[in-house]
């Protein structure tokens, strides 16, 4: 597990500034897309489609970095590398880590929305 923070507060406050009224929409969009991505990663892993797994991990990484979830982004990056190198066991472990980190991020972001 990496040492990056769950959320990058500075990045999030910048996003709030940029997005203005759309900030809530952005966060909800991110959360629902991310849920779908984890499902896709899960099904790619079970069908042992390492290419689909790699692509999905890559895209997921991009949106995590943009939204200000660096720890989740780093996990996606490790999963992307594992997928590319076809280390299926590592990929499976990383997907578990991604799933649990995502739960944390979701909780934190939902709190942000209540603020």
């Amino acid at each position: 597990m990496n040492k990056k923070p769950h959320l990058d507060d500075e990045a999030l406050s910048e996003l709030r500034d940029v997005m203005e009224d759309e900030f809530d929409v952005l966060i909800r969009t991110y959360l629902s897309d991310s849920g779908e991505r984890i499902d896709i990663l899960r099904s790619a892993l079970s069908s042992r489609d390492s290419q689909a797994f790699t692509h999905s991990a890559h895209s997921f990484k991009g949106s995590c970095i943009n939204i200000g979830a660096p720890r989740l982004g780093a996990l996606c990056s490790e999963a992307e590398i594992a997928g590319r190198e076809e280390r299926i066991d590592d990929a499976a472990h990383l997907l578990d880590d991604i799933q649990s980190e995502f739960l944390t991020v979701r909780q934190l972001l939902e709190q942000t929305l209540l603020r």
Partner: protein, 596 residues
């Protein structure tokens, strides 16, 4: 795909400026990333078009012609690299910056993006300041590229227009200039197809009385300005020569015209050659061209140097059309070249020069005529096929007059039916006899009759011989037997010049009568002079008709006309010329062959 889809757009936005809002496509399959980038780009004042994959990006590009495209690399259906290739192809000549949105860190993958036509990267997480800086930088590049494209197109269009104009000018020029007889069997010449734009001219035209005039020249300057001067020269040369004007009149007219229309630093170095194959003489006027050559059959070589200033320099009052007259024989050749020959340079920048020119002429033979020998030598010297572009050369062989009978006289056709019955009297008196040639005017009057126009050469010959006879033998009382010898020939013309100064009190009167039935007609020419006349009943004198060149004149008239009668004291001749639409014009000069 229509690769020009966007160029129309570029033209319609030609007045677009730096700072105007842009249409920008954002293509990313990640919904949240799209939302973030859209918000950032909108805050910069631009219009955003969203696409969810590469395929949609290409379709939207085709529809909206955006100025900048932001593409995620990995997308379903069509990835960013393929989309970039399609968009660059659609954009054609227009620069549409494609910026890849990426969290790639692998150098190979980044390089592949650039190979696909990408112009730059924008890495995640997005940074507002960097996005603004990149969009502005690429917009400036785009505008600069478009300015350059517009200027390039403008230059290309100007260049095409210039070439079109040159082509039109060349064709107009050829229509004016190429009605001549440069294709006559005794003429060899070399000109480049674009010679008119080097300022070079070369014209040859048969004269109605037989023989031909040749003009070779070289205008100062290059390009269209040099070509413009050639137009009036061609008009005057062909117009006046085919109407029967002599070299002096043609030269004076050309000089006056050029002096009037050309700027003072522009003129035309030229040589005018007036060939008379009947009498075996050539009159040469050289103003500023390198010396030409009279190449004798026996190998001797006479120089024909410049003795005048170029055409278009002197005012009409100071211009001299005086010619050098040379006796020539069958087998002799007259050769002239513009200064392109002497000044042709080899790779060491040495000039061809006089010595090589003479050596080349020495090497000429029956199989290799002088002009060919000279051209070959220049081309060997320069070692360069291009050099021929600046060379204009002409050589005219002296041949028996009968060899050139077929030369067509292209007098402009008229649609008018012309006068049928008419009488014209014209009298030239006193000093006017010395400085005015009435023949073009008289010929012009006769040429109003379409049927006579068909045989202008014959009509001119009749008028000209009667006039020459009246002037030289009648008024000036020159004995024709002087012309039998070379020295007598010179004496004859010297004496002619001298006696022309005292023509006071004399006159030559022409009376022309024309009648026609429509298909046939008769032109009666009566020429009367104030000379003493002669006893035309004397057998010895009327034998004039058969004594070689000197008697040629009246013998020719007798041959061409149905009747020739001396009247009064022998100073009046009446000739009747018949024409018929069913008869081809007679061949000129055939009595000559009988009498020689």
């Amino acid at each position: 795909m229509d690769e020009r889809a966007n160029s129309v757009d570029a033209a319609s936005e030609a007045d677009e400026a730096d700072g105007d809002p842009l249409r920008i496509i954002i293509a990313d399959d990640s919904h949240s990333d799209r939302l973030i980038l859209q918000a950032m780009v909108r805050r910069l004042g631009h219009q955003v078009i969203l696409a969810e994959d590469g395929y949609e990006a290409v379709e939207l590009f085709r529809e909206h012609h955006p100025q900048i495209v932001l593409l995620d690399v990995m997308m379903p259906r069509m990835d960013g690299m393929d989309a970039a290739r399609h968009i660059k192809a659609l954009a054609g000549d227009t620069l549409v910056p494609v910026i890849f949105l990426t969290s790639l860190s692998d150098a190979d993958a980044l390089a592949r993006c650039l190979e696909a036509g990408g112009d730059d990267f924008l890495s995640k997480p997005y940074n507002r300041t960097i996005i603004e800086a990149k969009i502005n930088a690429f917009n400036r590049m785009r505008l600069m590229h478009r300015t350059l494209s517009v200027q390039r197109d403008l230059i290309r269009a100007h260049n095409e227009q210039l070439l079109t104009e040159q082509d039109i000018a060349r064709r107009v020029f050829e229509n004016i200039a190429h009605t001549g007889c440069l294709d006559a069997p005794n003429i060899n010449y070399h000109v480049s197809p674009m010679s008119v734009f080097n300022g070079d001219i070369l014209f040859a035209c048969p004269r109605p009385s037989g023989g031909m005039n040749v003009l070779i020249g070289d205008f100062t300057g290059h390009g269209l300005p040099a070509a413009i001067g050639a137009m009036p020269v061609a008009e005057i040369f062909y117009g006046m020569t085919s109407k029967g004007f002599h070299s002096g009149d043609v030269l004076r007219e050309i000089n006056q015209k050029l002096a009037r229309i050309l700027p003072s630093d522009m003129f035309c170095c030229a040589a005018f050659m007036e060939f008379d194959f009947h009498s075996g003489s050539v009159n040469v006027w050289n103003g500023g061209l390198p010396a030409g050559f009279l190449l004798r059959k026996n190998g001797r070589r006479d120089s024909l140097p410049s003795t005048h200033l170029p055409l278009g320099v002197l005012s009409p009052e100071r211009f001299s059309a005086e010619v050098q007259q040379y006796r020539v024989n069958v087998g002799d050749t007259v050769l002239f070249a513009t200064d392109g020959v002497l000044e042709a340079e080899n790779h060491d920048a040495d000039m061809f020069g006089d010595a090589r020119l003479h050596a080349a002429l020495d090497s000429a033979s029956g199989q290799r005529p002088p002009l060919r020998a000279l051209l070959d030598s220049v081309s060997d010297f320069t070692g360069d096929q291009q050099s021929g572009d600046d060379l204009t050369l002409v050589s005219v062989d002296i041949v028996p007059a009968a060899d050139l009978e077929e030369l067509p006289l292209r007098v402009a056709a008229s649609a008018l039916s012309g006068p049928a019955h008419w009488v014209c009297e014209y009298e030239v008196t006193g000093e006017t006899l010395a400085n005015f040639n009435p023949l073009p005017l008289l010929l012009h009057i006769c040429m109003e009759v379409p049927a006579l126009r068909r045989s202008s050469g014959e009509v001119y010959t009749v008028l000209s011989e009667l006039y020459t006879n009246a002037l030289e033998h009648g008024v000036l009382e020159l004995p024709s037997d002087w012309k039998d010898s070379a020295e007598g020939f010179g004496r004859y013309y010297a004496e002619r010049e001298r006696r022309l100064k005292s023509t006071g009190g004399h006159r030559i009167r022409f009376r022309l009568e024309h009648e026609t039935t429509g298909k046939e007609g008769r032109l009666k020419v009566i020429c009367q002079d104030t000379g003493a006349g002669f006893n035309y009943t004397d057998q010895k004198r009327s034998a004039l008709d058969h004594d070689g060149y000197t008697g040629r004149g009246l013998a020719l008239v007798r041959h061409l006309c149905t009747s020739v009668r001396h009247l009064g004291a022998g100073n009046e001749v009446e000739a009747e010329y018949h024409w018929s639409l069913n008869r081809q014009p007679e061949v000129k000069g055939s009595p000559d062959n009988e009498s020689r």
